[in-house]
Subunit: 396 residues, 4 copies
């Protein structure tokens, strides 16, 4: 794998590298870590890369690597830049024949997103988008439970993503993470809605299997001097008649990263919280709640295949990236027709029955359509916020 | 005290009786427990009342008691009937010179509410409405913290009241509690919004000291055959520019009575959950959370005055009614110019400094204005639900 | 009921009064609230008692009330004095024909305890000891689950009672509660072990149905200048071969009143915590945990009969006393052959089937044998602490 | 790094490999994964190793690698075999000049442990023992808080390690993990005490900085047919006069891996639970509890240096191994005089001040003395269990 973006001061680049490294299936062999060649070089050195494969631009990397012999050149790129670089980097990689793993959101705006979709689909190449939170075993379990019909038809969905780190104008203090996330030029038309709201939207649709059809949004910039929304309250309607609420915020002072979801159906409900991700609560009016835990009991194959430790040994954030990268690696090898050797050491997880098989439906990862819906969500929210009409259709 | 409503099968009547009895300040001396004289009689007997003071109608009770000598006749009435009786019972009691404690919501509809307000205010009599949840010590503490400025200007309020008991059409099975709460004739224009949404609205305004100015509501009847809303998703705007979300539901399958609130200000936040009422979390971006607990440390006088046990001895639902009834009794005696003797036995709670004084600001209880705002909330929500405009003004 | 002890500054007297008043089944009619007649008088006045029935000593009260006509005189006494008065007060009451409810521990020492047992048993009178924590609905449920065999043979019991309020030498500051609880003359041979360790012992034996057969104790006085143990670590062995740990402490700085128990059997386990008493966790190795909640689902009749509110309306400490007093009242009327009228208003709780019947096995309360075992526990712990032998037999 | 043990079916080998890989500082270059050469070969292949560096025995690996040129040969060995192989593998590695990372417990018995200590110490080589739980940031923070004096002199320590996975005789069903852990020949004189009790002992001593001086143990084999203890209840005494309780169990049906500790000092307490490792509670009698969270606020450098993600992105079990391996790598380079390049990419964590420096006191890892105390703990517990004397000295 070659990395685009992710220099020393970046946050998400290191997360991707750790996720990719965890299972021993993927090796970082080259990178264009910054548009500043000095920074890129320093990063490559710190990562023990061959200096000849640390590049000053992603174009240089892609064109150079393309000419390396098969087996030596990178197999795919991992794009972890700010949003405004996503489209051109992904397009360039694909057009030069490289598979792509990319951080979310998909692109800077809807136009780029719509343009990228046919590029990906016509290329025949693999494309993953790291909506990582759907990589948690208990999220997989929740989806499997909804699908099984155990809670009946879904009626109500409440999904929240409160953070507090932008409670003050930290972007004015030189905090790099805050700076680009609050800058329309690098981040797009929405702030928090794009950064974390899309995760909430993706999580809700992933678990329920439903699609948002219309919404009503109230966006706010609470911190004076900020350019993009730091708070969003949104009413949702889904394609099966379910109703919902999505709110995300960066000004919930004292909240860390408290993505959470509750889904209520006719016969029961599900509650999950990212900050304690190994627990899933299955509520029921007649029998009370059952606590479902990673690694305990008779879980779905979907959950088992994304669990590495025995029960009670907490797994966390880095494993969600590892799950996407590992599944991507498996899909890649399935393309090549090579076997997944690591399957044997438990990297596919699961029961004896399926431990030695790659099953696309189970070893899934988010892709271009998740990305497109994310961009449409941003667009619809911004549009809804600007109108006095109650409901705005969710359109792609 | 004399009780109107609250026969043997009723739920809330027994709660009021227990709350009134807890501190030994109030004695139940008579009642018109049902419009069915047989039922009223049976209830009075079960409660060991003098049969001559168990009445067949509230009119009979009020007129008869009125003629008893002072010191013997009841001092006030407690009205615990379904909503459609509230107005006429309260009006009749007040017009005959009796103070009133009444269950919420105030009346069946806005017209009655508006008519009741001047009746109460011109009477010079005491009037309490049992929005009991604001009687919890940690709710008092939350209000005191907001007032102190410790969390700065309030920016965001999330208040929820999920229940699951109406997930099926239980009103069709003869369940009495469900039957009247889903019947427009006895309950009013809204179902869940009136029954529990008003508690959420009252709680949010009580803690923050803010007023809702406009809202956007999406009501649903999820259970086929039901006549009134069993789910509400509502966006809120407050008079200081704060934004918020209120949702209440009776179809959150598996939820018990999970009223909860989160309030975020510039410098911190507050989180409270009715089902574990003795804990209040004070969040802070820089320092992490502090856990505030009933009876622990240097709490506000407001919290102390409503706490009966040492820390770690859980207090619950019945104490919230007791707090309203006790404060009402104190206010009554202050009217009479008699001392509150029970102060000495700790019934006022609080530190040495204030244990022997009745302080209206501290020993507060909800009244006619809370009731009127509750009715206006119901009205505004129903109106908002019926329009395609995003925002509907909250008007009284 | 007449009360012995429980003057204005006392803690537990007010708790008993509230517990007795809650259900409207018991009326406080007289009291000897203090050995100081002035204090007794002031307390009686604050409680609105007839001054002629406020006495200067328990002897005076008992002898005077005895001569009042039946129907007017008190039916039983409630003894809430410090431990050193328990024996003589109970003995005097019983010998004069009054039933007794008494706070724990039973007596000042084992000799008194052994002497009291035949007095109680030969009198034919009712005797209740307020080991109140076994009055929680979820403790009743836990006991019922163990009895049902659902968790199989019990193997391990961990019961804890940590408090932190004696972390400093507060008895030297004039704190009345601390003063008598750390004074051997008023409290007995043990401090924390008698005050709270006995609650832990009683809870463990009540839930498991097992008896402690031997133990190994390590007592400590951590706070310099204190006269009695403020910390106890104890290994337990039970009569079925189960093993256990009991520890109680008053120097766990920051702990409130965190009585809790875990019971593990062959097929599952139970976890309960007094500070969140409406929740019981049923653990299971194969299926994960089930959350059992007061008022939710198909609970045992034992739990139902001690629950007053619908699910999610928290019940707490005062209700545990109310449960003992109410069951005592029912037992009393069963003696008299009178019906329990309040049954009809739901004071017996329970399903339709058993709501109108008093069932001694379900409406149970702790008695003389619980008290005697508590005293034997104190004795055995003190003896074990003094020896270098590992195990000391639990003997009565 | 070269690995000894850790074939395909092993549990802990994969954990070590993931921990070592996470930060990109260590590369697995060779292995003797099993005493069965076929299994070793298959494992090496699954891990993409050069077949020429997959060995049939650890002796072969060590002797062969020793002769490879510097820069090519492995730098250290990681020993992840069952306990009975530890001693000879570590001895052979050290005697041939290789640094060692080894899983706990140190050896099969005390004799081996005592023999290994001088071998390690005289070699001048680095030795790490993966008592991984002390690698959690909040454990580092707890230790720093105790050291700071914030909770005063430690009085009471309660440390627990309940599991439920051996509630039935699973070793008879061919479960490999259960089989060797319950076999004295491969596991040593104790079962659960060696496997998990030593973790509890290590955690308690690490956080408090105290040493256990004597103890009183009650071991049980609850499951018929088992050869080693599956439950231990132990009273502890520490060198500063503190008292404590340690219990570990494998028959707490329904418990996963619930290692937890509570430490109470004169002025406050600390509570930590491995299953939710990113939270530390600081209790205080006067002010209530503070919640300390990974990544939030002004934490100690010790905690910061072992944290990889921003607050609210859960870190777990694999990071504890990564922390040991990374610190070991840093110590290794400090030996070599080479800089830690990865420091620059945040792998040392910490504030700007110390992010570019390796500080042994902060980047610590468990070593030979932890291992020796662990073995002495096992020995003392077994001895105490066999005697009727209450206290057995903890002797090395």
């Amino acid at each position: 794998m070659g990395m685009i973006g992710g220099s020393l001061e970046a946050f998400i680049g290191a997360v991707h590298r750790r996720g990719a490294a965890l299972d021993g299936e993927i090796e970082l062999v080259c990178g264009a870590f910054s548009s500043n060649p000095e920074k890129s070089k320093a990063t490559g050195e710190a990562l023990y890369l061959d200096p000849s494969r640390v590049y000053g631009s992603f174009q240089e990397m892609i064109l150079t690597e393309k000419n390396l012999p098969e087996g030596e050149r990178m197999d795919f790129v991992s794009i972890v830049t700010p949003n405004h670089v996503h489209f051109e980097a992904a397009k360039f990689a694909i057009e030069n024949g490289f598979h792509v793993v990319m951080d979310k959101p998909l692109t800077l705006n809807m136009e780029e997103a719509k343009a990228l979709k046919p590029i990906v689909e016509n290329s025949g190449l693999l494309f993953a988008l790291t909506h990582n939170y759907t990589g948690y075993p208990m999220v997989k379990e929740a989806r499997a439970i909804v699908k099984s019909g155990a809670i009946g038809k879904v009626r109500k969905v409440i999904v929240e993503y409160p953070q507090g780190w932008l409670s003050q104008l930290v972007e004015a203090t030189g905090q790099k993470q805050a700076a680009w996330r609050t800058d329309p030029a690098r981040c797009g038309a929405a702030g928090g809605v794009g950064d974390i709201g899309t995760h909430a939207e993706n999580l809700a649709e992933y678990i329920t299997g439903l699609k948002i059809t219309e919404l009503c949004a109230d966006l706010t910039i609470f911190v004076e001097g900020r350019q993009l929304d730091d708070d969003a309250n949104i009413l949702l309607r889904f394609d099966n008649g379910a109703k919902g609420i999505l709110h995300n915020s960066q000004i919930c002072n004292g909240e860390e990263n408290d993505l959470n979801i509750r889904v209520y159906g006719e016969f029961g409900g599900l509650k999950w919280r990212q900050m304690e991700p190994n627990t899933l609560e299955l509520t029921n009016q007649e029998n009370g709640s059952r606590i479902i835990r990673t690694g305990v009991g008779n879980l779905s194959k979907h959950a088992q295949a994304h669990t590495r430790q025995p029960a009670g040994h907490p797994e966390g954030y880095v494993e969600t990236f590892a799950n996407i990268y590992r599944n991507f690696a498996f899909a890649l090898r399935a393309r090549w027709g090579t076997e997944n050797r690591a399957v044997a050491v438990g990297n596919l997880g699961g029961t004896q029955d399926n431990a030695d098989a790659y099953i696309p439906e189970i070893h899934d990862f988010p892709g271009i359509d998740d990305g497109l819906r994310g961009m449409a969500f941003i667009n619809t929210v911004v549009k809804s916020n600007a109108t006095e009409n109650k409901w705005t259709k969710f359109e792609i």
